[in-house]
Symmetry: C2
Subunit: 252 residues, 2 copies
DNA sequence: CTGCCTTGTGCGATATGTCAACAAATAATG
DNA sequence: CATTATTTGTTGACATATCGCACAAGGCAG
């Protein structure tokens, strides 16, 4: 049982302060951080001064910015995962053979987080890299990872906030998404046709460990060509299945 | 003036706890974290329980592991930098044209941190990605970034800990490194020949903003071919200089 | 059983969050 | 331009959280 006696408020507040720094708010004053985090100005100030003192933030007397030191925290996390290094050779080989980009990601809440990637030709407008995030509900890897969760949990995630359409093809109705996920659960792979970005198709399979638990997802990103989306299955699924089988042997 | 009244010990301790998680210690017990961080067991326990409570760590009753949630912290940091997104198109174009990998990095202490990368064929054994770190003293980008610092500061960084040789070609004498850095300062670019890894050469230039301040470094990684390392200059420097000039126009 | 390790838990002393007041800076107003 | 509002950073006082110590309680090997 976790009681107030076993927690550290200061740490929670400090981490919340770090997360208030976004692309939209890269430089913030004490008052801005206070407003964004809901902390008292005095408290926010102490968090920020502490971060600056430790080298996690810079302070010019008025505005605070995060320093690359913060990246150490995330890197520390990635470094603890054995998976990225194990799959990288497979990704490289797969991408080179097919001439397309491949990635591995895991689930964090309602987002997928890229943990490894081999990018070939540029097919997406935004550049994805380890640590990048995309919504799970409209991505092939996200569908695969959600399919591994209990239905009730998925429903909760999809209901938490309204699903934002990224293109005209994005399925935004939670019921409909649940249905697609059920289909993915049945067939063991997911195909997405331009739901994330116009011109981009994607096919993903789960990565299983020796005990059959889903630990990540593997995908191929492809330009939307004339052929039907269904063609992806016959054309690319075997290669993905092969890697899936190989990884399953060596995972835990 | 920063007094004890303006800092939060709890935050500092918690961040230290996160950084104790490394590739060598991905799963740690309370006692292990306590030993690695120098914190009291009771304190380490509180930090870990707090992290688990916030979703930054998992706890199976015995061992703690970091969750992908921690990656948000680092991602928050990367997202606040305008540079990665600005340089990515240039990197992509450069890599595609030359068929080699290119990267942009910044300095954090005595390490360079990759913030953007376009990887073409695989030339390095380890896979680099945004957030990855390499020692500054033996990398082309590191030499370029160190050259922008006051000499005294560089000397301090190089003297802080003994320079580890990564290959038989690595220059590990601080004096000698200082000399190379002076040369880089004079000529405005750096060439490295297999000091990081056997078979890998690299050439880097600084990225300057409109006011001429060094804000990052740009490099090309190349396989060590038969030609002399000096050939890199005539062959690749113009392309790097061109990007340098373009970026200088648009940076702040 | 008995050391030897670990984790969990009271307790006093100290650090730290909250709230309020205040001063300096900035914005708004006439 | 002077003056008033409004916001922001900083400081002080008090109640409370939390640190670190010492000790109790569980696990495991010999």
């Amino acid at each position: 049982m976790i009681t107030a006696r076993d927690t550290m408020g200061g740490l929670a507040k400090g981490l919340a302060v770090i997360e208030t720094f976004t692309a939209d708010h890269p430089r913030q004053s004490i008052a801005e951080v206070s407003a964004a985090s809901g902390l008292d100005r005095a408290t926010a100030r102490r968090c920020l001064l502490t971060l600056a003192h430790l080298g996690y933030a810079d302070y010019d007397g008025k505005f605070f910015t995060l320093t690359p030191r913060v990246l150490r925290l995330g890197t520390a996390c990635l470094a603890t995962m054995p998976l990225p290094q194990m799959v990288q050779p497979w990704l490289d080989k797969l991408s080179e053979t097919l001439g397309e980009s491949s990635s591995v990601s895991i689930l964090d809440g309602d987002e997928i987080v890229y943990i490894a990637r081999a990018s070939q030709r540029k097919v997406m407008s935004i550049s994805l890299m380890p640590g990048s995030r995309l919504p799970a509900f409209c991505t092939s890897m996200g569908r695969v990872l959600l399919a591994a969760l209990p239905e009730a949990e998925v429903a909760l995630l999809l209901a938490a906030r309204p699903l934002q359409a990224r293109t005209e093809f994005t399925v935004t109705d939670p019921e409909a998404v649940m249905q697609r996920i059920a289909q993915v659960r049945g067939q063991g792979f997911a195909v997405i046709d331009q739901e994330v970005e116009i011109g981009l198709r994607s096919i993903a399979v789960p990565i299983l460990d020796a005990r059959g638990r889903v630990v990540a997802a593997l995908n191929l990103g492809l330009p939307a060509r004339a052929e039907a989306p269904e063609a992806l299955e016959s054309r690319y699924l075997p290669a993905l299945r092969a890697i899936q089988a190989e990884l399953r042997k060596v995972l835990r």
